[in-house]
Amino acid sequence: MKSLLRLYAIFHKEFTQLMRDRLTFGMIAGIPLIQLVLFGYAINTDVRNLTAALVDQAGTSMSRQMVSDMGASQVVDFQYQLATVEELTTLMDAGKISIGLVIPPDFDRRVLSGDRAAAQILVDGTDPIILGVGRQLASIPVNFDSPRRLQTPAGLEVRNFYNPERRSAVNIVPGLIGVILTMTMALFTAVAIVREKERGNMEFLITTPVKPLELMLGKILPYVAIGFIQVSLILLLGWILFSVPIQGKLSDVYLAALVFIAANLALGLFISTSAKTQFQAMQMTFFFFLPSILLSGFMFPFDGMPKAAQFIAEVLPLTHFNRIIRNIMLRGTELDFLSTDMLALIGFAFVALSIAILRFNKRLD
């Protein structure tokens, strides 16, 4: 009973302070809003309307057919019609175009004989995404109506599951839940205990009967509520701005978020017991935050990373949460508490909180 009252004391105090801290309160709503808009609109990995130039030295119906096929894909926009390859390379050197298509005079013969490349695509390779687009274009079969129709090789057909319109936002919004929670939850709690040390409150607190567990739990509980507010905000904005669906159960989204929030709060507390100043606590949080963003599969596909990076990524809670939340929101999978990813999150939270409590002693030395 006494323990509960002490826990409530810390919780109540923390909550009151939080409500009065306008900057923190602004961040609670501001971070999800800004990030969602930024990532949703600006960071767009599906490429459209790349500026392109065309050198059609064949000028046959077959070549025109191919050019219009490419244009129809909307990936490239042929803004320049040029006579020579030299002109095209000049434009590319100047950065005016990203892609160039060169059709040689003997295009028809090349297509029919099929022994040499029929045409050439020149790509500005400084951006790997554009390079990827070039490869994609090269695989467009040259189709034309002709009695001696070219036999297209039995290529691979791509079927797009879960995101038929190939919109980045669909993938990014669920991922953003994890990124925003990692950033805010860990940061808020990382400074929570250091702040009391810096302001001299800690010297008073440790002379009272309050227990480390009561202090830790009392400090993180208000932030669980804040985490839920943020999740709701992201889901709502994602739905309004980008029509991102939730295929699975809404309660599963919140349950998964709860476990993930706990993991990040525990991490924040661990940082808090290690740092001496609020500035140090922030540095440590960012030390953790950067790999989380880069390696968790939020930015780059997990499977494309080297083994070592994957290994590090498996330690980060965000990696596991990204898998869980994408499963629930995009694939409509039911949340399974015994899945490896959920167990990893629960384990992380438990270990981090235990270390934090053990590290926190009610002494000054």
Partner: protein, 321 residues
């Protein structure tokens, strides 16, 4: 044995604390009687705070034993924390909470039931003249108000031992007087109070006083007894040319110390020097200075200067031999 325990709120033997190579507290013994106001007087860095922190378990002693209110410290420090109040020179409550919220928070932390807590908080607000500030944030209070709030918070759970680490360094004389009036009331009600200070006038009010210097207790008695016990004769010298007299007296090897207080000098000579009054007059005459020399009672500052200087001389001799 039991009566011994009740007689002393705090006993410490051979208490030391080392930080790296430095002994912040070096082998001190303490016996602090229950219900008394016991003072630690010493300059900054003399080990006052370190000792107080060791007594309530915030720091682990390098060596020595501590017993506070019958509890072994640091082993039973957590039990002790329900029975002590602790206040430091730095305001350690929350600036962004109101006066009343701070007190309620402290009440909750000590797990005082709701009804009692409300009564106690209101009682303290009234007692410490904070009733009209109840809804004001602690960060906007004046120095005196903050200190009253801090003391109210420290005694909210009615501790039987109050540890005050330089509690009055940030307040004006009037607030200090009020503060001490409260301490006397608390002591009368049976609270043992340990207070550290570097103000002589404050030290003078303590029932008993330990003078600390460089981590060692150099004297320990009631302020009155300390004055009687020092091995010095104190003279007041009134002369027109105070500065010249000070220089002349300082050059005499028998003179222990010369301090200027306002327009006159306080001169300390060891009791072992015979006819010291005449000696001082002779020094003035030989320097063509006219003035009056009167023997006076030593005050606490004289005691402080005498015992710390004596301790340092002994240290030096130990090093030489």
């Amino acid at each position: 044995m039991n009566s011994e325990k009740e007689k002393y709120a705090i006993t410490a033997t051979g208490l030391s604390r080392r930080f790296g190579d430095l002994f912040a507290v070096n082998n001190i013994d303490l016996k602090i009687p229950t219900g008394s106001i016991y003072g630690f007087l010493g300059p900054n860095g003399s080990g006052k705070s370190t000792t107080i922190r060791m007594l309530c378990g915030l720091l682990i002693p390098t060596s020595g034993t501590v017993e506070v209110l019958g509890l072994q410290i640091p082993k039973q420090a957590e039990i002790l924390k329900n029975q002590i109040g602790y206040m430091t020179q730095k305001f350690s409550l929350y600036d962004d909470l109101t006066v009343k919220e701070n007190l309620s928070f402290v009440g909750e932390i000590y797990a005082i039931p709701r009804k009692q807590r409300k009564l106690r908080v209101n009682e303290l607000l009234e007692e410490f003249e904070l009733l009209d500030r109840a809804k004001q944030r602690a960060g906007t209070l004046s120095g005196g108000q903050r200190q009253r709030l801090a003391l109210a918070a420290a005694i909210l759970h009615k501790p039987s031992l109050l540890l005050l680490d330089e509690p009055t360094s940030a307040v004006d004389p009037q607030n200090r007087r009020d503060f001490w009036a409260t301490l006397f009331v608390l002591a009368e009600q049976g609270t043992t109070i340990l207070v550290s200070t570097h103000y002589m006038d404050e030290a003078e009010r303590c029932h008993r006083l330990a003078i600390l210097d460089e981590g060692v207790i150099v004297a320990d008695n009631s302020p009155k007894k300390l004055g009687e016990n020092i091995d010095m004769n104190v003279y007041e010298v009134i002369t027109e040319k105070t500065n010249e007299a000070r220089v002349a007296l300082s050059n005499i090897s028998e003179v222990f110390s010369v301090t200027q207080v306002g327009l006159h000098l306080r001169v300390l000579l060891p009791k072992s020097v015979p006819d010291s009054l005449q000696k001082v007059e002779a020094v003035l005459q030989s320097n063509d200075l006219t003035g009056r020399v009167t023997a006076i009672e030593p005050n606490l500052e004289d005691v402080f200067v005498a015992v710390t200087e004596k301790h340092r001389q002994e240290e030096r001799q130990e090093v030489i031999s």
